[in-house]
C-alpha cells in the first residue's frame, strides 16, 4: 500500500526541498524578496547579487548536503545497531569529530583544507571505536549505547570547551563548533564537501539491500547469506565518515540524524531503498528550515542552526523514549 505512493512522496519531498531552498535564499540580515531572487538567478544585476551568489546560495546548498548526510548516517546507524535512539549526535561521534576539527583549526591553522574532513573523520571514528568497546557486552542494542555515547560526547565536549576558552575565537566561530552553524559557509566549504559526498553515496546505494537484511539482526542476516559482521563494520565506517564530513563542514549539528530517519520510516516503512532517500530529503528540509529561521528571526544576529534543530529534535526524542516504553 505504502510503497505504491513511494515515487509520489519522494517527488513531493524533492519539490518541497527545492521550494524551501529557493525561499531560504531570501532570509538573512538583508531580506531579498522572491521576485528579486528570481531576477538575480536570471542574471540581472542587483545590489544583492553579490550576497546571493557568494553567501546565500552556497549556504543553502551546504544545508541540503549536510542535512541529507546526517540523515543518511542516522538511518544507517539505526538499522545496523537496531536501535531507534541511535544517531550520530546521540552516540557522541559528532562531538568527537567536532573536537578533532577544532584541534586542527586551533593548532594547525595553516594546514591544507583537506585535512579538516580527514581529522573530523578520525575523531568520529575514534569515538565509534570506543563506543564499540564499551558496549561490546550489551550488543549495542539497549539504551546503554546511547548513554555511553552521551558520556563519550560529554568528554569530547569538555575538551572542546577547554580549547575554546583557552584560545578565544570569534563568537560565531565558537558557536559553530559548540552548537553547529552554517555561519560564513561559502563555496570553498561546498566544494570541499561535495567530492567526499559523491564518493560515499554510491557505496551506500550499493549496500541498500544488505541494510534491509541487517536490520533484522544477526541470526536472520546470516541465514540470508549476509556476512553480518563485516558488512556491519563497513557500513558503520561509512556512516561515521559521512557524519564526520558533515561536522567538518557545519559543526556538530544535533538531532537531524535522529529525527529524519524516523519521519522517513513513518512515511514509507523500513525498506531502505525508500527510507534512505526520504530520510535524506527530510534531513535537508529540516536543516533548510532551521537555518532560515536562524537567519530570519532576529537579524542581524544569527541563531546557530544547531540550536534550532535541538529545539525541534528534543521533544521528538522524548516522545520516542515514551513510545519505546510502551513496547
Amino acid at each position: 500500500m505504502k510503497l505504491r505512493r513511494a515515487p509520489v512522496i519522494i517527488l513531493a519531498l524533492f519539490i518541497l526541498t527545492c521550494i524551501l531552498a529557493f525561499f531560504s535564499v531570501g532570509f538573512g540580515s538583508k531580506y531579498v524578496s522572491p521576485a528579486e531572487t528570481i531576477a538575480i538567478l536570471k542574471g540581472s544585476d542587483s545590489s544583492y547579487t553579490y550576497i546571493v551568489e557568494n553567501f546565500r546560495i552556497p549556504r543553502v546548498l551546504i544545508a541540503i548536503l549536510a542535512g541529507a548526510g546526517l540523515a543518511i548516517s542516522g538511518t544507517i546507524l539505526q538499522s545496523i545497531l537496531q536501535n531507534p535512539l541511535a544517531s550520530p549526535d546521540v552516540i557522541g561521534i559528532t562531538k568527537g569529530a567536532g573536537l578533532a576539527a577544532i584541534l586542527v583549526i586551533v593548532f594547525l591553522p595553516n594546514s591544507p583544507t583537506a585535512l579538516l574532513p580527514i581529522s573530523a573523520f578520525l575523531g568520529a571514528a575514534l569515538v565509534a571505536v570506543a563506543l564499540m568497546i564499551f558496549t561490546r557486552n550489551s550488543g549495542a542494542k539497549s539504551s546503554t549505547l546511547a548513554l555511553v555515547g552521551i558520556a563519550l560526547g560529554a568528554m569530547c565536549q569538555a575538551a572542546t570547551d577547554y580549547i575554546l576558552i583557552k584560545f578565544p575565537v570569534n563568537a560565531n566561530v565558537m558557536l559553530l563548533w559548540l552548537a553547529g552553524s552554517l555561519w560564513g559557509r561559502g563555496w570553498d566549504q561546498f566544494y570541499g564537501f561535495l567530492p567526499w559526498f559523491i564518493v560515499l553515496l554510491p557505496l551506500i546505494i550499493g549496500m541498500i539491500r544488505k541494510l534491509d537484511v541487517l536490520q533484522f539482526g544477526d541470526d536472520i542476516s546470516t541465514s540470508l547469506g549476509v556476512k553480518s559482521n563485516r558488512t556491519r563494520y563497513f557500513l558503520l565506517g561509512v556512516a561515521v565518515a559521512l557524519a564526520g564530513l558533515c561536522v567538518a563542514t557545519v559543526g556538530s549539528i544535533g538531532f537531524v540524524g535522529m529525527v529524519a530517519p524516523h519521519i522517513a520510516k513513518r512515511l514509507l516503512g523500513p525498506k531502505h531503498q525508500y527510507s534512505l532517500p526520504v530520510a535524506a530529503l527530510c534531513g535537508a528540509i529540516l536543516l533548510i528550515i532551521a537555518d532560515s529561521i536562524g537567519r530570519g528571526i532576529a537579524p542581524p544576529i544569527e541563531i546557530p542552526v544547531g540550536i534550532l534543530t535541538a529545539i525541534i529534535g528534543v521533544p521528538y526524542f522524548i516522545y520516542l523514549l515514551r513510545m519505546e516504553r510502551k513496547k
Partner: protein, 336 residues
C-alpha cells in the same frame, strides 16, 4: 549487635575526621597555589595579621580566600543535591546535571543577565531557582507516568539538558562578552569574590541544614514508597520538601559558578560505597566530600595548563564522564 553498630559509628567517625583533614589540606592548597605562588608561612601570617602593603595578603584576601570558600560551598551544595535526588528518585544516575536542573538554572540566569542587565546580582539566584524548578518539572513530566527505566530516564534528562543548554548558547549571542559567558557556562570559579560568597552562603546554610533535618525521612523514603507509607510517612510531602531543597542547593550553586557537572553524580555514590545506605550519614558526608572534590578539582584546574586557569567544570566533566559510564554499565543490571 551493639558492638557492630558501635564499630560502625567508630568507622563513620574516622571517615569524618579523615574527610575534614583532606578538606583542610585542600583548602590550604587552594589558597597557596595559583599564578602568584605564596608560601604557607605567608599565607598564615596574612590570614591572621593584617598589614596593608603586602601584595600576597591582598591576593589571598580578595581573590583566593573567597574563591576557596565558594568552591567548598558549591561542592557541598551539589553533593547533597545529588544525594537527595538519588534518594527520592531511586535512580542511581540522578543528579542536578543529568536531570537538566543545572541546565534549567543556567538558562534562566543567562536570560536574566541578557534581558535584564541592570538587575542586582543578588536577584540572579531567584532566576536560578525558577530555572532549576523548570528543568526539574520537565523531567518530572517525563517520569510521571512511570515505567521508564533508570537508564531511559537519564537519557530523557540528558536530552533535556541538551535542549536547555542549546537555548542558553543561543542567548549568549545577544551578549557582548561571549567568551566570558562561555567560561561561566563551563562552570568556573575564576570570578568568585566576596560578593559571590555573600550570595551563596545563606542559601547553602538553609539547604544543608534542611537536608540534614530531612535525612531521617529520606532514609525511610529510600526503602521504597510502599515501605515508607507502611511506616506512616507522607511520601509526597517528603519528596516535595526534598525537591525544594535540591532546587535551593543546585540553583544557588549555578547562580554563582555556572553549571558544574558530575559532582552531584559522583559524590553520593562514593559516600554510599563507604558508609552504606543511612542517609543521616550520607547527607553530611556528601556535603563534606562534595566540598573536597570541588576544592581539589579547582586546584587541579589551576595546575593543568599553568598559568592558565581551566574552568573547574571541565575538570569535573573529565573525571565524571568515565564514572557515568561505569554507573550506566551497572544500571543495566537494574533494567526491567
Amino acid at each position: 549487635m551493639i558492638s557492630a553498630s558501635s564499630q560502625k559509628r567508630v568507622k563513620v567517625f574516622f571517615i569524618y575526621v579523615a574527610g575534614i583533614l583532606v578538606l583542610i589540606i585542600g583548602l590550604i592548597m587552594s589558597i597557596v597555589i595559583g599564578v602568584t605562588n605564596i608560601s604557607i608561612g605567608a599565607t598564615i601570617t596574612s590570614l591572621f595579621v593584617w598589614t596593608e602593603e603586602r601584595k600576597e595578603q591582598l591576593i589571598i584576601q580578595t581573590i583566593r580566600l573567597p574563591r576557596t570558600l565558594v568552591g567548598a560551598l558549591v561542592g557541598a551544595n551539589l553533593g547533597v543535591a545529588g544525594a537527595l535526588m538519588q534518594a527520592i528518585t531511586r535512580n542511581p544516575l540522578a543528579s542536578p546535571q543529568v536531570f537538566g536542573i543545572n541546565a534549567g538554572a543556567s538558562l534562566f540566569v543567562v536570560a536574566s543577565v541578557v534581558f535584564l542587565p541592570s538587575g542586582s546580582s543578588f536577584d540572579v539566584v531567584y532566576f536560578a531557582f525558577v530555572g532549576a524548578a523548570f528543568g526539574g518539572a520537565i523531567i518530572y513530566f517525563c517520569a510521571s507516568k512511570g515505567g521508564l527505566t533508570p537508564v531511559k530516564l537519564a537519557l530523557a534528562g540528558m536530552s533535556i539538558h541538551f535542549l536547555l543548554s542549546s537555548v542558553t548558547q543561543g542567548l549568549i549571542l545577544f551578549d557582548e562578552d561571549a567568551t566570558d559567558m562561555l567560561n561561566w557556562l563551563a562552570g568556573s570559579l575564576n570570578r568568585s569574590n566576596w560578593i559571590s560568597v555573600q550570595q551563596l552562603w545563606p542559601w547553602s546554610v538553609i539547604g544543608l541544614v534542611a537536608a540534614s533535618a530531612l535525612s531521617g525521612a529520606i532514609s525511610i523514603l529510600a526503602l521504597g514508597d510502599d515501605t515508607a507509607k507502611g511506616l506512616g510517612q507522607r511520601v509526597q510531602w517528603v519528596r516535595l520538601a526534598a525537591s525544594l531543597i535540591v532546587i535551593i542547593l543546585a540553583g544557588s550553586a549555578v547562580s554563582v559558578t555556572g553549571p558544574i557537572g558530575f559532582v552531584g553524580l559522583m559524590v553520593p555514590h562514593l559516600v554510599r560505597m563507604i558508609v552504606g545506605q543511612d542517609y543521616k550519614v550520607i547527607i553530611p558526608l556528601s556535603a563534606l566530600f562534595g566540598a573536597v572534590l570541588l576544592t581539589y578539582a579547582d586546584v587541579l584546574g589551576r595546575l593543568i595548563a599553568f598559568p592558565f586557569e581551566s574552568p573547574v567544570g571541565i575538570v569535573t566533566a573529565v573525571l565524571g564522564a568515565p564514572f557515568f559510564l561505569y554507573l550506566a554499565h551497572k544500571a543495566r543490571g537494574m533494567k526491567r
